[in-house]
Amino acid sequence: MSVVGIIFSNIHDKNISELTRMRTMASVPFGCRYRLIDFTLSNMVNSGITHVGVITHYNYQSLMDHIGTGKDWDLARRQGGIQILPPYITAFANTQNSLYTTRLEALKSINAFISGCTEEYVVLSDCDLICNIDLDAMIKHHIETGADATFAIKSSYIAASDRNSISIIEYNENCRVTDITEHTGYVGGFKDINLNIWVMRRKYLEDIIQDAIAHNYTDFTKDVIVRNLSGADFRVYKYDCYFASVSSLADYYFCSMDLLNADTRRALFGVNNRSIFTKVRNSAPSIYSSDAQVKNSLIADGCVIEGTVENSILFRGVKVGTGTHIKNSILMQDTLTGDNIYLNCVITDKNVVIRDGRVLSGHETRPFYIEKNSYI
């Protein structure tokens, strides 16, 4: 069984426009030392997938910097390995023929990559899925059922306040998909949400794309899935471990803080033989001074802590000055805080410098975000 992975790296960028102004959704920093794509990439590698294509659209410099040759995920290979698939415009493009805007158009644009692969199966996945899923089991399930395509779902509570589009999958007793709807303004309750991980035969994907090109389809869900619900055999694969995806800045904050729960950490990082890999930075271990006071926090290597840190997430290379109190906050890579600062519900992007004595506070539902390279 040979499988190639395809990752959409710009999908849902608009969900957290603050963090994706200068980067892809895939390269949004998360959990002290990771980028969102690390989860999907590691899941693929841990499931024996050693050929991965990453579809990019715009702002993908930070993503390329993060992935490098792919060696940190063991994806620097002579056969397969990781391939970045940037957008392109053909020599015959006219003004209308600009960059793609939907998932299906993205797939059309990498048609050559897909038909050039030799693998029998393909796994398509979004880049913003925070989970540790055994894709191998899902692929085996797909082969056993003989379905045309298999979609991963998870029963989740959907709150009325979830404003962003969540796709909900309905299925019958044979686990065949009967309907896919985009959630808008649901009143609350448990529903099976689409995790945006699909498994199918590569040939089947090629056919879909050919058909889409022939009919000038643009929307994967509407034009391909829903249109074929009765004709094709689409099935669900039920996943029931930890899953989160980020739909807003408040949601990003919430998901990050959720890492302070031991159960969440165990489900993501404590699975045997299924480590989450990331780019190696060679930071020294974190150093705590004699005055450091740290409670309920998650801290990466390379930090220097001289003050108080409470319920917070510190990325690599963060410095917390003397007398400084960091509370309920997320400080990204190389944030430097001076002395006697008070921060509450603050998210600092990379390389933020906060000078002595500043007092900044947001609220859980509306964390105060400070842009990359800012100086306060």
Binding site: R265, V280, P285, D301
Partner: protein, 407 residues
């Protein structure tokens, strides 16, 4: 096509390090963990790459498995090269002879063909048991400027300790007059760091001559350097004024770890320019619980701290349960320190479990020495382990037979 390297480094990593006792029972001294996420050999290897030396032969002999596995293809140090890179050089069987390495000089002699392949002008000899950050390039510049045949890096030690080192007596221009191994009446305080740069041609000449001398101990310090001095070759001492420590004993290994702590640590791993590289194992960030206390300590990724950690260095994956206290200690990877136990003034090797309510070691001020705990041991709940002992599986068996378990 002619290919050559200006300098090739030869790293002596075959030593047993018997004064590290349990720590080196199953691995060579250079593979001993240090400073949370490093191993001793990371220092010379990182120094090489940071000094622009990309060809390193690592001479192994004693328990090389852990070291081979750790170094692999050298990728973490950027030493995976198409021409050069890092190469493990164990003793081997040749058509006419098969020999273990009989001394530091003999180890290099047996690998002359390796050095020759790169046709270097200079050979840098390093040892794998010192903690220091050094720019070999500026030493090489000094070597060229003085037109030396051999340059020996020296380090200022207190006069009272000079009798434990190889001491270089030099003229004002740093040319070496005399070399004394562990002199009882030291004439200077310049100790050899075990870092040598040789002109390749001279090195080969003296190694070959030394090999033929049956009475020689085949050692750089004892034979090669004195022979070169006697023959009137140009030997110079190069002064190094950074941090340097031989971590050949449990006490010095502990001290070197402690030197990483404090507001102004004696050895900083944080300056960006001369970073120390190491192999990384994809561990999650470390977590600090709500009732944890961490003071003046170094904590590595993968740790979970719910108890108290004071003046200590913790490697990756260490679990400190609630109400446990770790003080003045160095704890290696994946050790589990169970609830309400106390670990004082101890070096604990990897994968050991310290049972709940156990008491290991004594407060540093009262202890007669460091308590050393071996690897993969299970110390039962409520065990009392005194200070200044070396805890192996046999030690524990004896202790439990005598009923030495606490309440």
């Amino acid at each position: 096509m002619i290919k050559k390297k200006e300098a090739v480094a030869m790293l002596l990593a075959g030593g047993q390090g018997s004064r590290l006792y349990l720590l080196t029972e199953r691995l060579a001294k250079p593979a001993v963990p240090f400073g949370g996420k490093y191993r001793i050999i990371d220092f010379p290897l990182s120094n090489c790459i940071n000094s622009g030396i990309d060809t390193v032969g690592v001479l192994t002999q004693y328990q090389p498995l852990a070291l081979n596995e750790y170094i692999g293809n050298g990728q973490p140090w950027d030493l995976d090269r198409t021409f050069g890179g890092v190469m493990m050089l164990p003793p081997y069987q040749a058509s006419k002879r098969a020999d273990w390495y009989k001394g530091t000089a003999n180890a290099i002699y047996q690998n002359i063909h390796f050095i020759r392949k790169y046709d270097p002008d200079y050979v840098v000899i390093l040892s794998g048991d010192h903690i220091y950050k050094m720019d070999y390039r500026s030493m090489l510049d000094f070597h060229k400027k003085t037109d030396a045949d051999c340059t020996i890096a020296v380090f200022e030690v207190p006069l009272s300790e000079a009798n434990r080192f190889g001491i270089m007596n030099t003229n004002e221009d740093m040319s070496v007059i005399e070399f004394e191994e562990k002199p009882s009446q030291p004439k200077s305080t310049q100790a050899s760091m075990g870092v040598y740069i040789f002109n390749t041609r001279k090195l080969f000449e003296y190694l070959t001559a030394d090999e033929e001398d049956a009475s020689s101990e085949k050692d750089f310090g004892k034979n090669i350097i004195p022979a070169m001095l006697n023959a009137g070759e140009r030997l110079f001492a190069y002064k190094f004024d950074g941090y340097w420590k031989d971590v050949g004993t449990i006490d010095s290994l502990w001290e070197a770890n402690m030197d990483l702590l404090g507001d102004r640590p004696m050895l900083s791993l944080r300056d960006g320019s001369r970073r120390i590289f190491s192999r990384n194992y994809a561990e999650p960030p470390h977590f600090v619980g709500s009732n944890a206390v961490i003071s003046n300590s170094l904590i590595t990724e993968g740790c979970e701290i719910y108890g108290t950690v004071i003046n200590s260095v913790l490697s990756g994956g260490v679990l400190v349960e609630p109400n446990a206290i770790v003080k003045d200690s160095v704890i290696f990877n994946d050790v589990i320190i169970k609830s309400a136990s106390t670990v004082n003034y101890t070096v604990c090797d990897r994968d050991t479990v310290i049972g709940a309510g156990s008491v290991v070691g004594k407060e540093r001020q009262e202890a007669a020495g460091i308590t050393l705990i071996g690897t993969e041991l299970v110390i039962r709940d409520g065990t009392v382990i005194p200070d200044n002992v070396k805890v192996s599986a046999a030690f524990l068996n004896e202790l439990y037979e005598k009923g030495g378990v606490g309440q």
